[in-house]
């Protein structure tokens, strides 16, 4: 009986370790490949090589990755702060002051979660063509244009409303007695109380923005404005790809999201599952 249990345990650990090894393997390959020459990457070299500094030089000399990291940082950070502020306004409004009219609006907004982005792509592109006409700073081929459609999203509004359900509304009454205005109640009472929710929403938004590919691909034209995924994609489909250098570019541009994940794991997971509460 004891032997059987032990066997079971060994089998379970073997299963887990093999599985985890398979999930981790592409990361191992990525890390090793940044030290290898282009040809060794496609040959599947699994041992570290000596090409790291050459690859580093190639990445910085021949690609726009530094510029792209700058662009992506502007887009991701800007989008994150603006989106969580604007979307939380609605989440708060819908939850704290519910009315029949607002419920209808809310349901319609939730419906927009079902709309696939591919269905919006062409009309959005045309819309931004029009915006370019009178406000070029927000139009086609601008970083603001990349962010604009994501300032208010159904997902974030839903997320904030779900979490606002746990917000103690007595605090609002207390704030009113203290003479705070309705806006003051939001910025001085709701926002500080919901810090965790903001952190979680912010992380998810940042990750999505940093990794967003299709919309920037549609709206950005000048390579100077390219964000990270566009540059990586262009490197991958170039005629003479340097695989070691591409892997290094991928590794460098994955570091921000990896750091956020490891440092703020708790909030990140809360941000993911907060939507199904």
């Amino acid at each position: 009986m004891k032997n059987k249990l032990l066997m079971k345990k060994i089998l379970m650990y073997a299963f887990i370790i093999v599985t985890c090894a398979m999930f981790f393997f592409p990361f191992y390959f990525l890390i090793v490949s940044v030290t290898n020459a282009s040809i060794d990457v496609t040959r599947g070299q699994l041992l570290p090589g000596k090409q790291f500094f050459e690859n580093l030089k190639t990445v910085f000399d021949t690609t726009d990755i530094v510029n792209a990291i700058g662009n992506s940082s502007i887009v991701a950070i800007g989008q994150t702060f603006i989106a969580i502020f604007i979307s939380s306004l609605a989440g708060y409004g819908f939850e704290v002051h519910p009315t029949k009219g607002k419920e209808i609006v809310y349901t319609l907004i939730l419906g927009s979660m079902m709309i696939p982005f591919a269905a919006l792509m062409v009309p959005l592109f045309r819309l931004f063509g029009v915006i370019s006409g009178f406000a070029p700073g927000f139009g086609i081929d601008t970083l603001l244009g990349v962010m604009l459609p994501y300032f208010s999203t159904a997902f974030l509004i839903f997320f904030f409303r779900q979490n606002a359900k746990m917000f103690p509304k007595e605090l609002l009454e207390a704030g009113r007695i203290d003479g705070l205005s309705e806006i003051g109640l939001f910025t001085r009472v709701f926002m500080p109380t919901m810090k965790t929710t903001y952190a979680a929403a912010g992380i998810v938004t940042f990750m999505n923005s940093w990794n967003n590919y299709l919309w920037p691909l549609v709206i950005l034209q000048n390579p100077k404005n390219y964000t990270v995924p566009l540059v990586i994609s262009a490197l991958g489909s170039s005629y003479t790809p340097d695989y070691g250098a591409i892997m290094l570019a991928i590794l460098i541009t994955t570091i921000p999201t990896a750091l956020i994940f490891f440092l703020l794991q708790k909030y990140f997971v809360a941000g993911m599952i907060g939507s199904i509460k």
Partner: protein, 302 residues
């Protein structure tokens, strides 16, 4: 929360009204953004789909674009590919995610956190980045073929990127790697709410681990499974980044998805926004149909 008593309401009638106006003020700006960037494009898309051409030279063609869909081989192939990914990838991924979540929920397991992190880690990579990593892993002389040949599973390298069948398999493998851990997190969190005494009782009754998995875990997690399968469906129907960067939709059109076809129609070929809009409405149609079906299936056996 109960409503405030009416007396107080009358007293503070003016204040109340002001509050009501303010409460709309909170939702008006976010709603405006949603209307401009989601609802307006949806309506515009419908209008476009009844026209032909791009830019200024749009011409009204009625439902011709929709009729054309049924005879368009490239469109039919894209729909077929998308559905192949949908039918094979989602069940495999959900099943694996369920198994991992149950195994990694085991209380006596050591290094639980590390194992969970390792399975989840793919979810932090960008879709473009991991697509390229997989492209090199599965290159002809790449490491995957080498390992398979070393293990004598195959004699000749598999043309992962060059064979219509294997290219589809590769996409399924890649997406499964990227999203299994992501879905697992939802199941793990739902498992925290399952009362352990149910398992204990069934163990005493002589139920095996596999029986418990199918008879207890899956029914208990039904709502979360429904949620993840709907989000995965919407994701798969919009699949774009992976086929674009991993296989470029090839070989031929073997891995071209509907989203990619819309992109090509709008920005790669001679632009035909009207027809692209009609194709995009097909995705909306599929999303609605499949979501309704899943809701029905997910709720049926209660």
């Amino acid at each position: 929360m109960t409503e405030q008593p009416t007396v107080k309401k009358k007293k503070a009638g003016k204040l109340e009204r002001k509050r009501k106006v303010m409460s709309w003020a909170f939702v008006i700006i976010p709603t405006f953004f949603i209307v401009v960037f989601y609802f307006y494009p949806m309506i515009q898309s419908l209008w476009l789909s009844l026209h032909s051409g791009a830019g200024i030279g749009l011409e009204f063609v009625g439902i011709d674009n929709y009729k054309r869909l049924f005879n368009d081989q490239a469109f039919i192939t894209a729909v077929k590919n998308t559905f192949i990914f949908f039918i094979f990838q989602i069940p495999i991924m959900i099943f694996l995610a369920l198994v991992f979540s149950v195994v990694l929920n085991n209380k006596s397991l050591k290094f639980k956190g590390l194992f969970r992190t390792l399975v989840f880690l793919p979810s932090i990579t960008s879709l473009v980045a991991y697509s390229l990593i997989f492209k090199y892993l599965f290159a002809n002389g790449g490491i995957v073929n080498q390992v398979l040949m070393f293990l004598n599973v195959i004699n000749d390298p598999i043309l992962w990127l060059g064979d219509p069948f294997w290219a589809k398999v590769l996409i399924v493998i890649a997406i499964t790697w990227r999203w299994t851990g992501y879905n697992m997190i939802f199941y793990l969190s739902a498992l925290q709410n399952v009362d352990p005494s149910i398992y204990e009782a069934s163990t005493i009754d002589g139920a095996s681990v596999i029986q418990q998995f199918f008879k207890i875990t899956i029914p208990m997690l039904r709502p979360v499974i429904l949620f993840t399968s709907i989000t995965s469906t919407i994701g798969t129907l919009q699949l774009f980044d992976e086929p674009m960067n991993l296989t470029s939709g090839g070989p031929g059109n073997a891995t071209t998805t509907i989203s990619q076809y819309i992109y090509n129609l709008s920005f790669e070929y001679t632009p035909n926004f009207g027809y692209a809009a009609a194709v995009s409405y097909s995705i909306v149609f599929f999303v609605i149909i499949l979501t309704v079906i899943q809701f029905r299936l997910g709720r049926e056996k209660k």
